[in-house]
């Protein structure tokens, strides 16, 4: 499997989904996963899969002794593996800057020279492809499609790509032609395409012109929370309504502010929180001030790790008004800690959730109405709280993993 992120060092939903899916798949006894990421930190959970750092893969032959290799990358990879993969260098990659081990340095994030990093990743993974000790290639998101294609060309093994998002979601239609090109090529080359929702599946079929029989939806799930009781809701006078995520066009933050203004016009005792950061944050602060609700509208900045769950658990309503969301795992996380969720119909997760309120992202009236009724009618909160939690506890990665396995079997002809 080719991925870009793996917990605990994650920047978006991709890492969380990669972790959950591989963990769910690891429950199948006859399956072994090698997960390649650009830059592991050494503190990843390796109990159920093997993590290979692309920055530990030699692409240029350098003579090194065992001890030196152990000293340099021993915390990430066994030195023997380094020497094993060194035997599979087939191409001359001396044009790429490498270190003393013949490996490429990766930032492991989304740097400004992202295109270069993508092609370097492609180069590094070619040695794994030449080693050829696998049955199927699985690429997560467009960053790793080139690596997947290259590996398929080298090894002749089938390629499955996993579409966690398309550029149409990220850009509200104004796609970056370079990104579209990579995505399109990945989908064309793939033997099968997995999408995280029917919404994304539709995009893949319509905008990337793929044959429907080649595209399967496997909805994301959510990893069970360890002792969720530790997240307590403190009693307070005011109800808290939370938006949590990147404050960017795709997530529809302005609709949240407008809905907040509508609610506050009519009622008291409700506070609104916009958690996260992003390119539209300042704009949103201005908007809140313009609507004259700044005293009840709060910004927290970026939250990480447990802070996220704490914030969700402290909220009375969680709202995700995304304009276009391939899946959107955060409402499921909110429901895990018992917080009623409002999601836009344009989110993939709306396809599988019953006990959440679904609205159109642009329908500010409906959004305000839903917030009002959860905050003001106790039965509404109670029912969504209980039934939502029960529902989300039964959406597991194990089932998703099994569906991915079905795709593998189909592609490989193993019935």
């Amino acid at each position: 499997m080719f991925g870009w992120e793996f917990p605990p060092h994650i920047l978006g939903g991709l890492g969380t989904a990669s972790y959950g899916l591989t963990k769910g798949m690891s429950l199948q006894p006859d399956l072994e996963i090698k997960f390649v990421i650009p830059k592991p930190h050494g503190d990843e959970d390796r109990s159920f899969l093997k993590i290979i750092g692309a920055n530990c893969l030699p692409v240029v032959w350098k003579d090194n002794n065992w001890d030196h290799v152990n000293y340099r990358i021993g915390n990430l990879m066994h030195p023997d593996e380094y020497f094993y993969y060194r035997n599979y260098i087939r191409y001359d990659f001396r044009r790429i800057a490498t270190n003393d081990l013949g490996c490429i340095n990766f930032s492991g994030v989304y740097p400004s020279n992202l295109m270069e990093e993508i092609s370097n990743y492609e180069a590094a993974t070619s040695v794994i492809a030449h080693a050829g000790d696998f049955d199927i290639i699985h690429s997560h998101d467009w960053l790793t499609y080139p690596a997947g294609i290259f590996a398929k060309q080298i090894s002749g093994k089938p390629l499955v790509i996993h579409v966690h998002a398309t550029d149409f979601d990220r850009s509200r239609g104004n796609v970056n032609p370079q990104v579209y090109d990579i995505e399109k090529r990945g989908m064309d080359e793939a033997n099968h395409i997995i999408t995280v929702s029917n919404l994304t599946r539709q995009t893949v079929i319509e905008k990337y012109h793929q044959h429907p029989s080649k595209v399967t939806t496997v909805h994301n799930a959510v990893s069970p929370l360890e002792n969720p009781e530790r997240f307590k809701k403190t009693l307070r006078k005011d109800k808290v309504v939370t938006f949590l995520g990147r404050i960017t066009m795709q997530k529809g933050p302005e609709y949240f502010v407008e809905a907040a203004a509508k609610v506050l016009e009519k009622t008291d005792g409700v506070r609104f929180v916009m958690a996260g950061s992003g390119d539209m944050m300042n704009q949103m602060i201005h908007l809140a001030a313009q609507r004259n609700i700044a005293d009840k509208f709060h910004f927290t900045g970026f939250l990480r790790g447990n802070q996220v769950h704490e914030m969700l658990a402290e909220s009375d309503v969680y709202i995700m008004p995304s304009v276009s969301e391939p899946f959107g795992i955060s409402p499921l996380e909110a429901m895990q800690v018992g917080t009623p969720s409002i999601v836009s119909v344009q989110s993939g997760c709306a396809e599988i959730l019953n006990n959440a309120i679904k609205i159109d992202y642009w329908d500010i009236d409906a959004m305000a109405d839903a917030i009002y009724s959860i905050v003001k009618y106790p039965a509404m909160y109670k029912t969504l709280h209980e039934k939502g939690k029960y529902e989300v506890d039964h959406i597991t990665w194990e089932i998703a993993g099994q569906k991915v396995r079905d795709v593998y079997n189909k592609v490989l002809g193993w019935y």
Binding site: K266, T267, N355, I357, K358, A366, Y372
Partner: protein, 449 residues
């Protein structure tokens, strides 16, 4: 000789419009006129008129031997009067044949029988008046909303003067007993007629179902099933929503032809038709059945869980019936009107989460989810409760309010009475001798001191 007792229920709630919370306190009109009119017109075209026509033909062709009963809620009648008066006329034509019985029920097709006894009585009375006004007959048989029944309710209905009540032949009440008998209420004179839900659902839900192993259902086959029932079972009670003729089963599926063929095959097999009141006269009760808890005809469970089964429904119902006494005290016409319409059981059925596991909301629901149904209803109810509060602030207790209202309502009578007294005293004064007046003054003065 066996009898078939057909009865059809007709209820359409006034659908609420999309009512956002910011309209609370500003907008006091709650109904979606367009949807309501469209729905009634649609049903008129596909169901009410053709079905009435078919039944009328059947009655005429069988020389009045075919008999049928209707249970039409007051709210449905109001809507028919407004949007489809021709349906009312055709019901009148049916009533004139003498082969049709109209049953009694609650005016608003409400759950008042469980939550508000007073309201229940008021509504039943109001409905009976409406039926008598339109069709000239005072109903004598009672059919509750959704066939809800319990022993307690049975006693109440008996006290209200009804001899017979229709209810569901729920398995957990009947046990091994057959629904095709008349039963006694455990401690009152009320007689109970239980619906044969198998034979009823065969027509209403399975008639057009291609995957049913008995498909297609013909009149011959259906009558044959009834004829085969044990000899002592003198009747079958078949009740269903009127929409079964024409909407649930369309004309193209042959439901009207099926119905029209029934009388012939029935009479051939020496099976007659009867109305509930005739059957109760004729058939002797076989046993006693008792249902300490309420039953209904809804779903597999045959209990109230489709209406009061979750927190959403309970909150809405409690909030609504909390103000029942107050609304009955006031005489604001529009408030009374809304009070009736908000009670329709359908509003609560839409909030049912029981069917919601596979992502589809309750059957026939105009809402996408039970939560949406609840949200909309509660917004409307909030406005309604505010209006009730404006009429009578909640700081005054009901009893106090009652006595105050009594004083106000009786003040005119009292003034007239006192004025008369005054007059008579004055006229007395004129005739009374001066000496006596002095006496009386004397008599009064010490008391003053």
């Amino acid at each position: 000789m066996k009898s078939i007792c057909f009865y059809f229920t007709l209820q359409q709630p006034l659908q609420l419009k999309r009512y956002r919370f910011f309209e609370i306190g500003n907008d006091h009109y709650y109904y979606d006129d367009y949807v309501n009119e469209a729905k009634i017109r649609h049903l008129t075209e596909v169901c009410y008129l053709p079905a009435n026509q078919a039944l009328l033909e059947m009655i005429k062709n069988s020389n009045g031997k075919f008999k049928v009963s209707f249970s039409i809620s007051g709210i449905a009648l109001e809507q028919l009067e407004q949007y489809s008066p021709e349906v009312i006329d055709s019901f009148k034509a049916l009533a004139d044949t003498g082969s049709v019985e109209f049953l009694s029920e609650t005016y608003a097709h409400s759950l008042s029988s469980i939550f508000d006894e007073e309201e229940f009585k008021v509504q039943v009375k109001k409905h009976a008046q409406k039926i008598e006004m339109l069709f000239g007959k005072n109903p004598v048989t009672f059919r509750n909303t959704e066939l809800i029944y319990s022993d307690e309710l049975g006693e109440l209905v008996s006290k209200m003067g009804y001899k017979c009540m229709l209810t569901e032949g729920a398995k957990h009440i009947l046990g091994w007993k057959s629904p095709n008998y008349i039963y006694n209420h455990p401690y009152s004179k009320l007689k109970l007629m239980t619906r044969n839900f198998k034979l009823s659902d065969d027509v209403s839900f399975r008639f057009s179902n291609w995957s049913w192993d008995q498909y297609p259902l013909t009149a011959e086959k259906y009558i044959h099933w009834i004829a085969e029932l044990p000899e002592k079972e003198e009747f079958v009670s078949i009740g269903m929503s009127y929409t079964a003729l024409g909407e649930l089963n369309t004309r193209e599926n042959g439901i009207f032809d099926f119905m029209k063929a029934l009388p012939y095959h029935a009479l051939m097999n020496k099976i007659s038709f009867a109305t509930p009141s005739e059957i109760v006269e004729k058939v002797k009760p076989a046993d006693v059945i008792s249902s300490p808890f309420p039953i209904s005809w809804a779903d597999e469970e045959k209990d109230l869980s489709a209406f009061t089964g979750n927190d959403l429904q309970n909150e809405a119902l409690q909030k609504l019936y909390m103000v029942g006494e107050r609304v009955r005290l006031c005489n604001d016409k529009s408030l009374q009107y809304d009070w009736m319409n908000l009670q329709s059981s359908d509003h609560f059925y839409y909030m049912c989460t029981k069917h919601f596991t596979n992502g589809s909301p309750a059957h026939y629901s105009p809402y996408d989810s039970p939560y949406e149904a609840f949200m909309n209803y509660m917004n409307v109810l909030s406005d309604f409760l505010q209006r009730v509060e404006e009429q009578y602030p909640s700081t005054i207790e009901n009893e106090e309010l009652n006595s105050l209202l009594k004083t106000i309502n009786n003040q005119e009578l009292k003034i007239i009475k006192l004025e008369n007294q005054l007059k008579s005293l004055k006229s007395d004064d004129a005739t009374i001798k001066p000496a006596e007046t002095k006496k009386s003054v004397k008599k009064v003065s010490p008391a003053k001191n």
